[in-house]
């Protein structure tokens, strides 16, 4: 399930030991131990991330980037240290290429708006794929509508893989930018983003990679990918909500106009003319999410400590185990059977409504997601109302997968 992924040989993690640091994984729901398999929606947080948030508010809460006093300097240093940590984590050449955002959606909106206003003209187009999350569709639709441009779509086959043969034809002279997800949140498909970037660059077209479902599972090296823009969210990588990252190549970010105006993003302001700040603050108007940024840095440290290669190896084994275990359920069919998959497994059973199955699983303490997962075009492609999605993290166990399978079998008996 990962043939063309670059895998640094990882070793299996001691999952039981790691689980102990996640308070929520020790809790029960409806009196049953929580089986949390909704990690693609958000991951749980290790104690040190939670402590980082309370530590900031109890010890050095202060506004950043302007205060001369001790607390402000301490907060600013911690805030900016997180930027260094993220830059190192994704191998960004320059720290100022890391822009803090509210999350993946925010990052995409920044680029759609700033890039679109500067570079999109009537008749131009943006190329996305058929398996994007709504957050990598709608911002582009909005700017395309505004500029009289078109949205073009890389089609998908019935396994949930992008039809790469169509790419060269799609990458015509109208295309000004390609925006594509690294890993599908619904199907688990790992897209060949490196190849997409290479082929787009041959025609001098920049590429934005939505790494929201990748950065916590796969080693992300923005230089190796040669991606122009990469976006992801803190809360899906064991960090807090309300914080995300937009990486952009310096040359591009300098070319783009600011997204929002306000404090922090300016060098000088008069009623006649405002000069904008330099990167990264040019794209960070207003007081940032300081506690969340600092806690994201702690989450990055945590991931570095346990090692993404080890996470990838551990999750890969669990994913394969889950696929095999789910196959034993009569009438189960996978939605998405791409050769390269990670983290998310979508399925349906006979004609059981995903909503019913999700509710009966919930009552057994098993958290999965049901519905269209904010990817309605995929549901239209497969002509289904939704799916049940189990999505794993490194802290999940084979026993939890067994409980999922047993829970599904019980639900099927009740619902059939």
């Amino acid at each position: 399930m990962r043939d063309n992924l670059t895998v640094a040989a990882g070793t299996l993690l001691d999952v039981q030991k790691l689980r102990a640091e996640f308070p929520i994984l020790q809790t029960t729901v409806y009196g049953k131990p929580l089986v949390y398999l909704d990690n693609a929606a958000t991951t749980q947080k290790p104690q040190r991330v939670i402590d980082a948030i309370t530590g900031y508010y109890s010890e050095y809460n202060s506004n950043v980037h302007r205060g001369v006093h001790y607390l402000s300097q301490k907060a600013t240093a911690a805030h900016e240290e997180s930027r260094h940590k993220v830059a190192a984590f994704i191998n960004a050449p320059h720290v100022h290429e890391v822009i803090f955002t509210r999350g993946t959606t925010d990052g995409i909106n920044i680029i759609a708006s700033s890039f679109g206003r500067k570079f999109l003209k009537e008749g131009d187009s943006i190329l996305i794929s058929a398996i994007e999350h709504h957050s990598n569709i709608v911002p582009w639709q909005m700017i395309c509508e505004d500029r009289g441009a078109n949205l073009k779509v890389i089609p998908v086959n019935n396994k949930g893989e992008l039809i790469m043969d169509s790419l060269d034809d799609l990458l015509d002279e109208t295309v000004k930018l390609v925006a594509v997800t690294y890993v599908s949140n619904t199907l688990g498909t790992v897209n060949p983003v490196k190849e997409i970037i290479e082929r787009a660059h041959q025609k001098s077209i920049p590429v934005l990679v939505d790494a929201a479902q990748a950065v916590q599972h796969i080693q992300l090296d923005v230089q190796e990918l040669d991606a122009d823009f990469v976006v992801f969210s803190g809360h899906k990588m064991y960090g807090p909500t309300g914080i995300g990252v937009l990486y952009g190549k310096e040359a591009w970010l300098n070319e783009l106009p600011p997204y929002q105006g306000g404090g922090d993003m300016i060098k000088s302001v008069s009623f006649k003319k405002t000069t904008y700040n330099e990167l990264p603050l040019k794209f960070e108007a207003g007081t940032p999410s300081i506690a969340e940024t600092i806690a994201l840095g702690v989450a990055v440290d945590y991931l570095q400590e346990i090692g993404i290669a080890n996470i990838q190896e551990t999750e890969h084994q669990l994913y394969a185990y889950a696929v095999d275990a789910l196959k034993t359920i009569d009438g189960l069919r996978f939605i998405g059977e791409a050769k390269n998959r990670a983290a998310s497994i979508s399925f349906l059973i006979n004609d059981i409504h995903p909503f019913d199955l999700g509710e009966i699983l919930d009552k057994q303490g098993i958290a999965v997601r049901t519905g269209h997962h904010c990817t309605e075009p995929i549901m239209q492609h497969f002509n289904i109302p939704g799916t049940v999605r189990a999505s794993i993290a490194f802290y999940n166990t084979q026993e939890e997968i067994d409980q999922l399978v047993a829970g599904i079998k019980r639900a099927v008996t009740m619902l059939s």
């Binding site: 409504h353 509710e359 009966i360 009552k363 519905g371 109302p385």
Partner: protein
Amino acid sequence: MTIQERQDQIIEDFEMFDEWMDKYEYIIQLGKDLPQIEEQYKTADNIIKGCQSKVWLHADYLDGKLFFTADSDAVITKGLVSMVVQVLSGHTPKEIADANIYFIEKIGLQNHLSPTRSNGLLAMLKQIKMYAVAYQSQALNK
């Protein structure tokens, strides 16, 4: 039986169940008793679209009373719809418009009424009330 009496009876029925599974099996069974909407009324106009499951609802007005038939593509929702129909069907528009529906919370299924859940049940209750108000004002205008 009044709307309140019928609700109290449902609540009493559910008190028998200690196990969540028995409760759900009962709800699923109730779904099978739902007065089925005729296929001709299963139209886009009669669909109450939630984010996850769909509910179709049709109202007939007979001798001053409203009668509902319905369906859903999810069996748990269908069971809940069936209970709502049992509670409200066969009453006057005024009784329905004035009714306070409390049994869903009381039997521990209030999560189905959360707007973010959007499984059609909440929208269906609103739709029933709208029918009732519409027929009520029609009756007043006569």
